[in-house]
């Protein structure tokens, strides 16, 4: 099989994992033709998927139903069978979940209202591949209300909420997704979204890049009609930049991952809360007085450090970047090398995006009962593989909590086997998902309606004005009252009264 982006990853930033995996994949693609399970990089959406995986998916009991959805004949109440879900009869339960989510996604609901007259997505044919949750359903139905036709598959074989998928199918959305797809199912579902007689997509909404990949590989001609791609995951965005560098990106793409609101909410603010939640739910530990080392002082690390300091922990920070390091100093954290504090800390938290930040050597030197977890990226930061040796005993003491026991009796408490703590062991508020979903909707509208020439075959950040608009739609949640510039002030500042209010390089 041919390489789909043709690039040699050179100066990749922060998401190089994919490159390596992609390299592996080239050899193995025929054997294991899916990258399933390697993604889940979008902190928020993936979160909900995990969450649903562990709990919500058991909304209704369908354990007795072993038939593959692909083998079932199902129709919704209007007689359509253009979908493939676990059980169309679960629609009612799913609808209730969607209604609850609607209450906490005021921005999308506001978009629906404002678009009642004009339909900014009239004529849009959107093919989507995301986690399928109640929040995504609110997004999808908003896109519909704005005039779009949608077809949808899941971007993760585990994360689909069957009841929500059923509710969408019942409402007439061609959804092809269920919890527990095989790899073959995964690609079959994507193909069913794309390969339709008499219907050709003109917009792509992707999370992870698999849908985009599939079209590149199978239906490259389809891109002639496609107006743009909206991609929200780190991995997917990285792939797009690779394509762009290689000169192979043939439509404009919008990187919604790096918009300000998404970055700050998914990282700083969300992690500030989820680090506490994740640690409490797994270990019931007391934060007060505990010594913690946080590896990495990016947005995620900043959130973790702020929360733990506020709860009375003593926090040390490690960094490779001198600017972030100086920020850590000014924020009141001792900047150390991991070796210097590894013997004394009660908790080690990785937030680097790097690999092997915590090595076996570090693990060997930790004190008894030290808790080790990863808030950063994928499952590479802690060298968990190094713990799979005969002399160490693993003891599963709770869901997501392992004691790894040294011959001398020392125990390390490893959370989520080194995978992302906040994906595995805490939940994400709908409010955060709302920001991401609104950003996606606006990105689709922008790309679909952009005049010829505004966007070339490149990867773009959401225009600042739209980023500001997403933010403004979420202010009512806080009963927050924005001040308007007077004409005189706007003139003085040389600004349009409606924004954008900052230069592009502004750092917030």
């Amino acid at each position: 099989m041919e390489k789909w982006d043709g690039s040699e990853g050179t100066s990749a930033f922060h998401v190089p994992e994919w490159m390596i995996q992609f390299a592996d994949q080239k050899q193995e693609f025929n054997k294991r033709p899916t990258k399933i399970g390697r993604r889940s990089l979008s902190r928020s959406i993936s979160q909900s998927s995990t969450d649903s995986y562990s709990s919500a998916a058991s909304y209704t009991d369908s354990s007795d139903d072993e038939t593959s959805p692909r083998d079932k004949q199902q129709k919704n109440s209007k007689g359509s069978s253009d979908f493939c879900v676990k059980n169309i009869k679960q629609a009612e339960f799913g609808r209730r979940e969607i209604e609850i989510a609607e209450q906490e996604m005021p921005a999308l609901m506001a978009l629906r209202k404002r678009a009642q007259g004009e339909k900014p997505l009239a004529g849009a044919k959107i093919v989507g591949c995301t986690h399928i949750t109640a929040q995504t359903a609110v997004l999808m139905e908003t896109l519909g209300a704005l005039g779009a036709q949608c077809r949808w598959a899941a971007c993760n074989i585990y994360s689909t909420l069957n009841e929500v998928a059923a509710a969408l199918a019942e409402s007439g959305f061609p959804v092809f997704a269920w919890k527990g797809e095989s790899e073959d199912d995964f690609w079959w579902c994507i193909d069913r979204c794309v390969n339709v007689e008499g219907w050709q997509p003109n917009m792509i909404l992707d999370d992870g890049g698999d849908l985009t990949h599939w079209i590149y590989k199978k239906y490259p001609n389809m891109f002639k009609k496609i107006k743009g791609i909206v991609e929200e995951s780190v991995t997917g965005v990285h792939r797009l930049y690779q394509l762009s560098k290689a000169g192979k990106l043939c439509v404009p793409a919008m990187n919604v991952n790096d918009s300000v609101t998404k970055q700050k909410f998914d990282n700083l603010y969300c992690c500030r809360e989820s680090i506490l939640d994740g640690l409490k739910r797994t270990t019931d530990m007391m934060f007060g007085g505990k010594q913690v080392v946080v590896c990495g002082y990016g947005e995620v690390g900043k959130g973790c450090c702020a929360a733990l300091k506020a709860m009375g922990s003593i926090v040390y920070v490690t960094e490779i970047d001198p600017i972030c390091a100086l920020q850590a100093c000014m924020d009141g954290f001792r900047l150390v090398k991991l070796n210097e504090v590894i013997r004394q800390v009660d908790i080690v938290i990785t937030c680097t995006g790097n690999k092997n930040v915590v090595t076996r050597e570090h693990l060997d030197r930790m004190k008894n009962s030290c808790i080790v977890c990863n808030m950063g990226h994928s499952n590479t930061e802690i060298d968990v593989a190094s713990l799979r040796t005969p002399e160490l005993t693993w003891e599963r003491v709770r869901s997501q909590v392992d004691h790894v026991i040294w011959p001398d009796g020392k125990r390390i408490v490893l959370l989520a086997e080194g995978r992302l703590l906040n994906l595995s062991c805490s939940t994400v508020p709908t409010f955060v998902l709302s920001i991401t979903a609104t950003t996606q909707a606006l990105a689709l509208i922008e790309l679909y309606n952009a005049p010829e020439g505004r966007y070339k075959q490149d990867v773009y950040l959401l225009p600042k004005k739209m980023d500001e608009y997403v933010a403004s739609l979420h202010l009512p949640t806080f009963d927050a009252h924005l001040t308007e510039l007077t004409d005189e002030q706007a003139k003085y500042l040389g600004l349009n009264k409606n924004g954008p209010f900052k230069p592009n390089y502004y750092r917030y």
Copy 2:
């Protein structure tokens, strides 16, 4: 007189004041040929100038000496008279001040050491126009140690520390500056730096743009030999962007004002401390339980809010930008319009960069004893002029503190007459000045040594790697230990082990 940049300010951001002033100036330039006193925009350096104004300038008594330095015949101990300062005999006192400053500017001292062998500024002829303080002296002598020849004037007629100027002159630096220059003196001093027989500058270090302006106006041919301009003030940078837009910038310019470390230190971290200091020194107020409204939630507003919240004040925020507004919400501040809280607050602080944020109407509605001050920009934010009406009585109760008294007896406590509180009423740590000075030095080195073609006739931000280098030079102050990437990690991340570590759009 002709307009020197030829541009019509259109989309100016955050520094439009200058445009307006420039407009005024066009008519008045012949009458009032200097923009003196209108600048002082660099938060840190200007700070020191004010500081010195109020106290340090009285180091040694020279009040009996009314002769203009221009009329004096002075020689330093080596017989040179290529300088013009208040009193060369004050050199010893100034030298002591410089030595104290050296102790707290480790980064510059480290630069001197590293450059003992190679002289990266060998052959550089730098003409500078900045505040002349002990910290600037450390910078200047560092430039000298790196191989440069320097000539220097003051960028502000009040901010020169005469003793420091004397010490520099004694050491052989051609310095033309004294405290209390007339406007004519101001331009004369600048001219003496530039218009020298047998010496032509090839680098400009400017703070406010007056030096650059002068050369543009008087000696435009000089730019043929000039390799670049380093400008640190908001105003000066704005002028450069205007020139660039108008196609009239004929050398590369480095905007050091917007480098990460300078922004964060001069704004967020510095204001976090100086808002408390400024309020205490002027009013001796207790922060606990006080209701405060902070107008603007940029870096300055963020710093003010964080400090006051930490000290037990109840803080409200106003914003025009929905993104900053959403940050304020997530950080735990009620976002309001000024009108909504103006009757109840004990303190009003402006941090917007805007004009007339606090109007007479607001002032009329404030409660008795309300404190009003400006941390943002220039003196435009509070409409102080509106208080100069017959029915209101002004009472000066302390230096920088006025009571404005309404007919019914209500008093407003106005600080620094609406000018910047932190320039007027608090000090700035040498550590902050050290960061700025180091950035300037590195910018000069970069521009001077850049290979042909790296920089065009445009305005540049400091390369990220240099920004990181400035940060790293300041880490030893905190005994901070940076972690180094392993080869494997650097490869995994696709990064050079020595940085830069982040993409340019990274927000920190």
Copy 3:
């Protein structure tokens, strides 16, 4: 049945609930002869009980075993049958739980070591009535190691961990307790501890006062040999003060509830963490930007406020006590009446110890999705009964989470049906339990060994020196290094080098 303490509660502080309940009880005592379920006032121990109730008790499956333990014939491996537990065969599992708890209760383990030589409780015959959890087991076995003989019953019909009870029975402790006792069982178990041939207790360790009550009622003569009572619950302590006032307390009693370490840990520090945990686990809400009103600014309220403020919530406080109110002001919280903010807040938290703090009228005025919960005391603070009216619909959306729905569709999110949130919906760290258990052990030692006359027939606080000792035993957990006074300093301060270090009225 006669009233057992003969007093009329007059100036009761903070635990008046009991008086009222006791009044009710007088009429109903014959019908419902036990106060079971009304207690659970000790924040920490009760916590563990609830916890175990919901999860831990399902350690091992014994659901098939419906036989009452009272009807079973069981022997431990040494042949003793002086106990009554659910299933002696679960001992091994319980032992493992105890061992895990031992690791986190270093103070008790240290006590065991120090007492290996001397046995400060040699000869002590302690009858106890507490929650029976792994942590209590560590306490009980420590008392044994110190020389005491113990007999034990449960103070709550639901809170016993059957496996732990089995482990204790297997080790030779006469334990009479199982999860799911009837009221008759409850008193039978207590009686089996007390009414033993050839064994008479000389010390009482009580939690809630039922054991003490039983002995007063049934075996008043037993008090002749009893050296003292140690009581840890608010309710039990209140009962003792009532007895004392009425002149009916015939032995010294130690109030360990009000020792400094217990107060601060069980309240301020513990609630600081559990409010976040309880809200997250039940609602997955985001704290940032949320408006919260906390009713009451005692230790519990202080803890809740500090945590929520730190997480970015905007917190309002209500208070009746002007001193606490002034503290709230100085700590940066707006002091309001509940009515003033009830329409705008997202969360209402009660921490008052009072009743009907949140009334139906308040509930009627709350906005949609407002969360209401109780961190304070018992289940009286929110008038939940007022919500049991036909026009309101209750919907159980999760365990411990009800939506109460108004006719117009407004939903209130009621947590734990108004019972204590931190007992129902969060966990308590073993570290906190360790402090309480250590205090109990030291109180027993003190009362048992006190010379004749040190304690009269009254209620005492733990001597400050012992409070300090408990604290010192917990410092190693934090690797904390205490400074010792020099002889000169001790003399200067007029203090003994070993403490106590503060006067009794010191407030910490």
Copy 4:
């Protein structure tokens, strides 16, 4: 001369300094019959005195007037000469200062209003000995408005504001005080307040105990008519407890030093602000990232630690008391011995009340530029005497700032020569003084009006209800709205609706 309290200090807590000084004094009393300069223990009042010393006292120029006030003939405008102040003509200036203070002492002004009808101090003849400042004047005039006659002397030879004393004299208050009294003057002034023909005091308001001492020594019979003593300083209270222990206290005394509001405001909240203020004003240091060790975690230490942590410093704590140590741990501070961190910290702050906490050995090991200061007590905490050795050079670099220079060039920055930083280098808000003054007024009212027998010849704390009343009078400053108990709630809690609301042992 005979010992005036007859006691041997045994278990003194926290103020033992006085005992030792008293011991010294016994030998030296004849030679140096005054304890002047040893007091200044009341954090707030003394603060104002120091403040005035350094600045305010120069309100009006009287440097040319070298005549002793005792030698002057002065009359106020009503013809009275029953006073002795520096210059009666300064009255007008002093009156303005008093009026400004009135605006910030709402509680006393409220007391005046409430007492317009009844005069709770009618018939009271109060002799007072306190710092004489604008705030004291507001107190004194309030006492007058409540019906009392007052005579007043200064408790400190330096702290009198001459202008304020003049204003009081002009208004008819017999005031005997001026700035710069000799020791003989000091006692002469006190005597002039007490030894008056036809006027005998029946109440004492003392600050430091000198007035009380004088009456004990010279006019012991006077106590027959005296209804009570109100004492606010640590030293004076200590003396009273000594007298009481020795059975020599012959009237009731009220210890207002230990009332809740005073303690929390003068210590925790006040120090939280003044530590930052004091450090900034003296050193202009930046707090962010600095390593600080705070010795002692009482109220003062807690305030310092909270403030510095909030400003981004890294704070270590030393403690001798394990309970306070455990609090430090839970609040997120590393508990260390001073030795362990002395080499690395940037600042050392003492808050212990102890002596020689920082020794020469510590000073020898500090790093270059380390700042050393005392927030705790008197001037004993840092062994400053050990620095007065020939090999060390002292350099005064600013007022209150000395560089002590080691032979190798290392400099220590010593603030206020080891005396209290917040007395010497920062100010205290009038709001804090208001709380103390209100407490004093209420204590006088209580003692004066107490029915026979309520108070015996002992030292009392202010009744909690009055403490609560003081707090309630200060709530309007914060626009704080107290909640009132309903009848039902009051009954439920067993509380009076008007308080007191807490048991005496409540810790706040």
